[in-house]
Structure formats: structure tokens, C-alpha cells
């Protein structure tokens, strides 16, 4: 009569259960979770360990801590100071011909929730201070007396849609929103643009928009714009259909807005620059996550017209990624390895080629790379600006630390470097999206006067 009765015999050894648990325990054994020495993964031939997959993806959050009286650290011969503070999640910087500095303040669209994991990821980013509201504007900083301290600060452009890249061609100012390139008329010395923008072309934006930043670079004759379009996932977990024309560098015709894929298979190309000696296009790219603390190294590479760089099917040439189905051996066969590895999970988001003036001679030829820093690696990697020396149009040595101190000894982040630019005097500008500051790194000693 009672519903509390049941017919199960009081004891029955659950053999199946024991077998199942043993199988899982064996499967989990032997996971090496800590990353090795990052210097093994810097340069043309990085050490690539065996791929491993985790049960629990490693999450290593560096919690933010205000700068207070601290500043980033620079080696002897350089000095650093804050050009502007109190910004709202500055992601990139751009220098206009008259020396005015544009600071792009944006934090991307709200990511959708497809899986329980996406809920957790949201919490992690919030703890890491990456959940600031999206300001969607560009602030202008002007230093009229050349002392390195701006005396004018205005809202240059407002009500944008997750902007990142900026490029000026003549009097046309192009802003790469997350979903379109918009052109604005710009007059020399203008401090605020009120004119409505004109859309040049749509870019792959929502509804997912996993990698939302669109890097922008104009060709030197001004006829073309190059756009870095990141993938819509870590490794196609949103389906290959979501990756249409993504993980690629677009070439957009400035007159018509027509585009073609200049190069593909670059997971998230976040910075584009012309190498001054060779005149070639170079890019920084963020590689895939969740196959080990030392996989896959992020990189700096020259970008060849029509080339395929592996994502999602393979990395560093023909190293297959088993997480992609269906596979494409035909594409893997022609995948190029990038030129220069920056080591794993450093998250390069800022890229500036040295202009050969202003900074000490050792920085005259090479690339500055802003490494936003890892969130999924122990020990932490990145959180600094490095300099890769170039000679003959190619990297010619190991990356050197230029700006450090973003991470304190207790692994708290005062700031995280993002976009870089070289100002009119040759000084290096760094957007810091956790410290909400733009830093200016110049030669130690008297500040050089601007040329004009």
C-alpha cells in the first residue's frame, strides 16, 4: 500500500558503475596543466607540444587593481606617463596627421548564451574587469604645446557600434564598426564630427559576433582598405556556417565598397600594418584556445595575397585540429605557417610598426605588439608590450619586453595593453582597457618637440 516500498534488493553491487568510474579516472590521469617557458615559443620555429584536451578548461583570472600611483615599467632610456585617464574601456588609438590622438572606447556587443558554458564565461569576464559598458565613442586628445600632456579632450565621434579600427585617407575618415565600415567627412583640425556617416560596406557582425573587433588599414595609395575580421567562435563550435567570410583579411575597394578575401585562415587578425622596408602587409593574430597552455602560439606574420593560414582545420601549417568536423585535407595541404610566433595565449591586440624616430636607436626598426594577456593559462602570459626587431623587412631576433608592470607580483592587473600607435614625435601610445588609461612611452630626457 505504501508508496515508499520498492522492489530493489537491499544490496546489489553496482558493477557497471564501478567500471564506468574507473574508465573516467584513467581517462583523466596524466593531464599536464601548467605551461612551459614561453621563450621556447617565440620566433620562426616555435616548440609545439602534443595537443591535449581538458575536462575542466583552465581558467586563470587576473583580478583588476587600480594603478594608484603606479605606472607601467619601461627599460632604461625610456619613460612612461599617462596621456589620458578616466577613459571608458579604450581599445585602440589612432594618430591624425596634425598629431591629434583618437582613442576608440568600446567593449563589444553582448555575447549570446548558447550553452551553460557561456554563462560561466560571462562571470569570468566580469571578474577580470572585462565587462565595462560599451561606450561606443571616439575621444580626441590634443597636445598643442608639445609637452606630452594633452590640453584638449573632446568627444570626437559618438553613438558608434562597437568600433575598433580607424583609418584616414585624405579627408575621408573610416571607422570600422563591428558590422560595417562607415565613412565620415573630416576637416583638418576638427575636434568633433557631427556629420552623419556613410556606409562603405557591411562587415560580418551579429548575431553571434564572437570576435567583434575589426582592424582597419588603408593601402598607401589610398585606393584600398584592409580589414581584419575575426572568427565567430573559438574553433567552429557555432557551426561552420557562422564563419562565412570571417577569420580573414578583407580587401575593400574604397571607391565602390566591393570586397574580396585577401587572405584567410587567420583566426582573429586584430592588427594590420605595412612593413616599411618591404612594403608588405603584416598582421598579428590570436590563435585558438583549449588544447593546452602552450597551444596554439599567437603570431605575427606577413600576409600573402590569397594565402590560407590554417584556421580552423590546422595550425602552424599542417598540425590538424581534431575539433573540426568535417575536416578539409585539401585546405590543410595548402595552409601556410605564420612567420613569427609570439608564444601562447598572450592575446596580441595592438600592433604598431616603428617609424624610426623619437625612440632610442634600438627601437628604430621593428614591430611593437600589445599583449592583452591570457585568461586560460598558468602561469599567466602576456600583459605587456613587446618589441620584435626587424631587419631587411623580416623579424631578426627574439621579442624584447618594452612595457611591463601591467601585472603586479601578486598577479593582479593594474591594466591590460590593447591598441598601439606611434604618435607624431615617434613616441609609443598604448590603450589600457582595464586601467582605462592611454600611456605614452617616449625617450627618457626632454620631450622632443613635434616636427611642425
Amino acid at each position: 500500500m505504501s508508496q515508499f516500498h520498492n522492489k530493489v534488493r537491499p544490496t546489489k553491487f553496482p558493477r557497471l558503475a564501478a567500471i564506468g568510474l574507473a574508465a573516467v579516472a584513467i581517462g583523466l590521469a596524466g593531464c599536464d596543466r601548467d605551461g612551459g617557458d614561453p621563450t621556447r615559443q617565440i620566433g620562426a620555429h616555435p616548440f609545439l607540444p602534443t595537443l591535449q584536451q581538458y575536462l575542466l578548461p583552465p581558467i586563470r583570472i587576473a583580478r583588476p587593481l587600480p594603478w594608484g600611483n603606479e605606472t607601467p615599467k619601461v627599460p632604461a632610456g625610456l619613460q612612461v606617463h599617462a596621456l589620458a585617464t578616466g577613459l571608458q574601456h579604450p581599445r585602440s588609438v589612432y594618430v591624425l596627421p596634425n598629431g591629434d590622438v583618437l582613442v576608440v572606447e568600446a567593449n563589444g556587443p553582448k555575447p549570446p548564451i548558447f550553452r551553460p558554458k557561456d554563462v560561466i564565461t560571462g562571470w569570468v569576464q566580469w571578474f577580470a574587469g572585462a565587462k565595462a559598458p560599451d561606450a561606443n565613442r571616439i575621444t580626441l586628445l590634443r597636445d598643442t604645446d608639445g609637452d606630452g600632456v594633452p590640453d584638449l579632450r573632446t568627444v570626437f565621434l559618438d553613438h558608434l557600434n562597437s568600433p575598433f579600427g580607424v583609418a584616414l585617407v585624405g579627408h575621408d575618415l573610416y571607422v570600422a564598426d563591428t558590422d560595417a565600415i562607415i565613412r565620415y567627412p573630416y576637416e583638418d583640425g576638427q575636434t568633433h564630427i557631427t556629420a552623419a556617416g556613410t556606409k562603405l560596406t557591411d562587415l560580418p557582425g551579429g548575431p553571434i559576433d564572437h570576435h567583434w573587433t575589426k582592424a582597419l588599414l588603408a593601402s598607401r595609395d589610398g585606393s584600398k582598405l584592409y580589414v581584419g575580421v575575426g572568427s565567430n567562435s573559438n574553433i567552429t563550435e557555432n557551426g561552420i556556417g557562422a564563419e562565412y567570410e570571417r577569420a580573414a583579411i578583407w580587401e575593400v575597394d574604397r571607391a565602390t565598397g566591393a570586397h574580396r578575401i585577401f587572405a584567410s585562415g587567420l583566426r582573429n587578425p586584430t592588427g594590420l600594418q605595412w612593413e616599411p622596408e618591404s612594403g608588405k602587409l603584416w598582421a598579428i593574430a590570436n590563435e585558438r584556445d583549449e588544447i593546452g597552455p602552450d597551444l596554439v602560439p599567437d603570431y605575427l606574420t606577413s600576409v600573402q595575397d590569397g594565402a590560407f593560414y590554417g584556421w580552423p582545420y590546422s595550425y602552424y601549417g599542417q598540425h590538424l585540429d581534431p575539433r573540426v568536423m568535417p575536416q578539409r585535407p585539401d585546405l590543410v595541404a595548402k595552409a601556410l605557417a605564420p612567420d613569427y610566433a609570439l608564444s601562447s595565449h598572450v592575446a596580441p591586440l595592438g600592433f604598431a610598426m616603428s617609424t624610426g624616430v623619437g625612440l632610442p636607436a634600438s627601437y628604430h626598426s621593428g614591430a611593437f605588439v600589445g599583449e592583452h594577456g591570457s585568461w586560460d593559462r598558468t602561469p599567466l602570459n602576456g600583459y605587456k608590450v613587446v618589441f620584435v626587431p626587424f631587419s631587411g623587412g623580416k623579424p631578426s631576433g627574439p621579442a624584447q619586453d618594452v612595457v611591463t608592470g601591467f601585472l603586479n607580483p601578486e598577479n593582479r592587473t593594474h591594466g591590460r595593453p590593447v591598441g598601439l600607435a606611434i604618435d607624431r614625435t615617434g613616441a609609443l601610445l598604448i590603450a589600457d582597457d582595464v586601467g582605462n588609461t592611454v600611456w605614452r612611452v617616449s625617450s627618457a630626457g626632454p620631450t622632443p618637440k613635434p616636427a611642425s
Binding site: G20, L28, P322
Partner: protein, 153 residues
Amino acid sequence: MAQTTKTQKTPRVRVAAIAMRGHLLHQMLVPFSVAYFIAALVTDLAYWRSALVMWERFSVWLIAAGLVIAGLAILTALVDLLRGRQRPAWGLALTYVAAVVLSLFNVFIHSRDGYTAVVPAGLTLSAIVTVLLLSVIGSGWSLTYRYRAGASK
């Protein structure tokens, strides 16, 4: 005689098990989690055959929901046990707990990105969990049973 009456009354004084209308609460929860875990095997098979991410997302939500329900079921069953109203039904309870622990591993594997979220480890775990649960399907899904069950009547 008076003493005998007193001892017989003692169980009634104890706090009742967590139940509704004569059903243990956990007994009502367990079948939901079982259905979710087994459904995840079906959606895993669909993903394996189609590589459509929709099926993988079904699987991971089914397993996650199954775990939430299973957590509540185990919690209410434990309360019943700790209050001394019920005894564990060892065979079913251990098999069920093993299936839940495996599903906890499984939800993490299903949270990986791409094909290896399911094939082969996720699919295999879903299959093991299904076999475990089917092995006790005729039990009525009660993790506990009443003291002296089967002795009275």
C-alpha cells in the same frame, strides 16, 4: 504492555520523509533526470551522424538540466536518510549516483568546443550512463526505502 505501545508510537513522532501525497519527492525527481540523461545519448548520436552543432547544444543542456534535477533528488533523499525515516536502497542508489557522477564529467566534456565535445568521449559517457540507468529501470526509482519495508504487511 504500556511500554510496547510507546515503542510502536515512536516512528510516528519522527519527522516524516520529504513527500507529497504519499510519494517521496526524490522519487518524482529522479525519472526526470533519467529521461534527460538518456535523451542526451539520442542527441549525441544525432550530432555524431550530422555534425550539426544544434544537437551538441541539446546534449549539453539536457545533461546540465539532468544534473540540476539529480542534485535536488539526491539532496532530498539524503535528508530523508539523515532524518532516519528511510534506509538507502543501495543497489539503485549507488548505480544512480555513479550515473550522476559520470554525467558531471560528461557535462564538462560536452562543454568543449567543436567535434570532440561529443565524439568519442562524450558519446561514450552518455552511452555508459544510459546503460547504467537502464540496468535499474524496473526499480520504481526510489533511492531509499522505508524501515522494515517488506517485514510488515
